[in-house]
């Protein structure tokens, strides 16, 4: 392939590509009969057409973002009258706050436990559903059922399943001679329980997206592969997976965002008097929960909570960039 030569090595990828810019304009044709409203129409209309999105984004996306940054620079009690400007003091305190770092570790731990098995299992499920079988539509539709179940309902049911004395999991473990496990008071067990909830809910959704992408893979590729003697596994890894890469990137990014912002599942999992802490030792407290704990009950420290929100933003940006770099590298290798 000669396509790569002009782009240079991926690491030095800063070199601008001629083709990446806007397409060349068609030559301007000044027809004598054209009046100024028509010219205005040509110039302004495109912007008007896209304006609704940007106006809404400005109100509900950009403004809260900037305002949150502004709040995070203040000592801002939620119901007090006049907040004090404190500069970066909230961020300084946050970086030294072990409870914050605890929530970061929890979030990343649950993120890994929820994202990796979720996408692998979804890929496997999609591949299975892609085969010829009886009642295919039924199976495909039922894969989506967990996803249309309300998160709160899922969390409440799983909370019962993972209950220490009355739970289904401990009851099953009892047959192997294991003592009752307290899923709430051991950090890693808590991570497993919360990730199980997330995985259960999202595997089917991702599987359907993968399935849709799989059906777009040209059949003749598989035919030629089997003529060349490639088995099912070989076809899967050498044809299906590489052809699915754009979809994979999409799914990875969407589940990254979702799992880094995990809130409802761990909150309802650790229900009790102070569930926002995620357990007595903050076993499953995620960053969003820590943000809520500080911005709202019981601290009502809006400035500190906003600082947590911005740290979460930075974390998501970092991980999104890492994701982008990794997936780009994989895609590059896949082509060679």
């Amino acid at each position: 392939m000669t396509l790569q030569t002009d782009a240079g090595p991926p690491a030095a990828g800063a070199a601008p590509d001629a083709g990446a810019g806007p397409p060349p304009r068609p030559p301007a044709t000044h027809r004598p009969g054209r009046t100024w409203p028509a010219r205005l129409d040509i110039k302004a209309s495109p912007y008007l057409y896209v304006a609704p999105f940007f106006v809404l984004f400005g109100i509900f996306g950009a403004f809260p973002l900037v305002y949150t940054a502004w709040v995070s620079l203040h000592d801002w009690d939620l119901i007090a009258q006049d907040p004090q400007f404190v500069g970066l003091a909230n961020y300084q305190a946050l970086l030294r706050d072990p409870d914050f770092w605890n929530s970061v570790v929890n979030t990343l731990g649950i993120f890994v436990l929820a994202t990796v098995p979720q996408l692998l299992l979804a890929l496997w499920l999609a591949n299975t559903l892609n085969r010829t079988m009886r009642a295919r539509t039924f199976f495909r539709m039922s894969a989506l059922v967990p996803n249309i179940t309300s998160t709160a309902a899922v969390a409440i049911i799983f909370n019962q399943i993972f209950s220490t004395d009355f739970g289904l999991v401990n009851w099953a473990l009892g047959f192997t001679g294991l003592e009752n496990v307290n899923w709430h008071s051991e950090r890693y067990l808590g991570w497993v329980a919360v990730s199980t909830m997330v995985n259960w809910r999202w595997i089917g959704y991702n599987a359907l997206i993968f399935l849709a992408a799989m059906q777009a893979v040209p059949r003749d590729l598989y035919e030629s592969a089997s003529i060349d003697g490639a088995g099912r596994a070989r076809q899967f890894w050498s044809i299906t997976v590489p052809m699915l890469k754009p979809t994979l990137v999409f799914c990875i990014i969407v589940s990254t965002i979702g799992n880094l912002q995990l809130f409802t599942e761990p909150l309802l999992f650790s229900s009790g008097a102070s569930s926002i802490r995620g357990g007595a030792e903050r076993e499953v407290q995620t960053i969003t929960m820590y943000m809520y704990e500080n911005a709202f009950a019981p601290y009502y420290n809006f400035g500190y909570g906003s600082a947590v929100a911005w740290m979460l933003f930075l974390l998501i940006v970092l991980i999104a960039i890492a994701n982008a770099l990794v997936t780009r590298r994989i895609s590059g290798e896949g082509k060679r």
């Binding site: 996306g61 119901i79 007090a80 990014i253 998501i316 780009r328």
Partner: protein
């Protein structure tokens, strides 16, 4: 060409992802327009409550007597830890709060620091109502400088020990409430009774969890000795040095150490299930807890529960006030409604409906309360049991971050309960985390 366009797509997807994420993280919600005049020139008043206040019938009565007013009661059954952050947000944004709002005693302290959010009820002559309420309850409704009347008292907790007769008899213990009360004049006696109970091998724990016991002892001891808990009256943090806190903590650790706790965290689903399956025999119960027990244990346990006196002396846990937020449009009408709901008759009606113990000495002395028997609790004379202690109570002062600090100490006790710390380590955690919470 293809590589670079894909790179662009990935990066822009990443950027979009990040932006969407923050947008979602930053969004909050506030909605309805409270206090708007209803059609036909009527004034609509919204009352925000949580749990069970027993106001449904009272609202009907009030509307019948005041045809120009409609009353809506919101928040029935809502938990306190959902209700109070919501109210705080409504106060902060200046929109959405009811015309009359209920404020729980633990949250009241935080609102006292910012009294401008509430109407000073003195301007409508609230001062004349002072003698209707228990003196300490009246005090608790005043602003920090005592110049402003923020809230009128609704109910007080009082304190008793609820127990399951069937489990007691299975363990060979007496079941009549006077005999049970005689078992535990002190908390040390309570522990030794618990050990006798445990020897009976009933398959149930003696008490639900450590935190309920802890809160009871703390407020008892504070009422008896210092008159304050985590903060002294000058608002200095004294969690480490106040002997009352340490004493309550150690006593609770002993209860847990004796293996008497069922380790069911209060308000968790496991706690609810443990009620249903009769997995513990006693629970410290303020008056409002009787409604919770009835709801959790269900109708099949009717007549199996009874109420004895609390070990130690008296004590109070919980109770609320009604306040009028400044943001409402009908202050005068809202005050009249709050006055009606907290009048002697209003308090008695709420008590009969949901067991909330009246915050008024006159109401407590009224035969309707004094002679009231709760059928669910084996016809226990709840009005007399709770009322007696409530009248003798002395106020306990609570400082600005009371709620957050209490949460930290309760979690240290839960750690001991779960076997993740011994009493000494638990106390260290409690003190360290309480200091951190106070500094936030």
């Amino acid at each position: 060409m293809r590589t670079s366009s894909r790179r662009g797509r990935v990066l822009s997807a990443a950027a979009l992802a990040a932006v969407t994420a923050l947008g979602m993280a930053a969004c909050g919600g506030g909605d309805d327009d409270a206090g708007a005049a209803a059609p036909g020139g009527k004034v609509k008043l919204i009352v925000d409550t949580f749990g069970e206040f027993g106001y449904e019938q009272l609202a009907q009565d009030y509307m019948a007597a005041n045809p120009n007013i409609t009353v809506e009661i919101r928040g029935k059954g809502m938990t306190l830890d959902k209700y109070s952050p919501q109210l705080t947000q409504q106060l902060a944004t200046g929109k959405g709060a009811g015309d009359v709002v209920a404020i729980e005693e633990g949250i009241m302290i935080e609102y006292k620091a910012n009294p401008k959010n509430f109407v000073d009820l003195n301007q409508f002559g609230a001062a004349e109502l002072k003698d209707n309420f228990l003196p300490w309850k009246w005090e608790a409704g005043l602003s920090a400088d005592k110049a402003q009347v923020i809230g009128l008292g609704t109910d007080v907790g009082g304190m008793a020990m609820c127990y399951r007769k069937d489990l007691f008899s299975k363990a060979g213990l007496p079941t009549a409430r006077d005999e049970v009360s005689a078992l535990w004049p002190t908390w040390a006696d309570y522990i030794s009774t618990g050990q006798r109970f445990a020897a009976g091998n009933t398959g149930a724990a003696f008490v639900d969890s450590g935190t309920g016991i802890y809160n009871t002892i703390l407020l008892q001891e504070a009422g008896k000795a210092t008159g304050y808990t985590y903060y002294d009256t000058a608002e200095k943090l004294v969690v480490e040095t106040n002997p009352v806190v340490k004493a309550a903590f150690d006593q609770t650790a002993q209860v847990i150490g004796a293996g008497l706790s069922g380790k069911y965290p209060q308000w968790s689903p496991e706690w609810t299930t443990a009620f249903k399956q009769a997995k513990f025999a006693t629970i410290a119960c303020p008056a409002w807890m009787t409604g919770v027990i009835e709801g959790n244990a269900g109708p099949s346990a009717k007549g199996k529960w009874d109420i004895a006196r609390i070990p130690g002396e008296g004590g109070n846990w919980g109770g609320s006030h009604l306040a009028v937020p400044t943001q409402g449009k009908h202050h005068k009408e809202a005050y009249a409604l709050a006055k009606f709901l907290t009048s002697k008759d209003g308090l008695i009606a709420a008590f009969k409906a949901k067991g909330t113990l009246p915050a008024s000495a006159q109401a407590l002395d009224d035969p309707a309360v004094k002679e009231y028997k709760n059928a669910y609790f084996s016809d226990a004379p709840v009005g007399a049991i709770f009322g007696e202690g409530a009248k003798a109570l002395k106020p306990v002062y609570m400082g600005p971050k009371n709620q957050a600090i209490r949460t930290e100490v309760e979690n240290a006790i839960t750690q001991i309960d779960q076997g993740k710390a011994d009493a000494a380590k638990g106390w260290q955690n409690a003190v360290a985390n309480a200091k951190k919470a106070a500094a936030k």
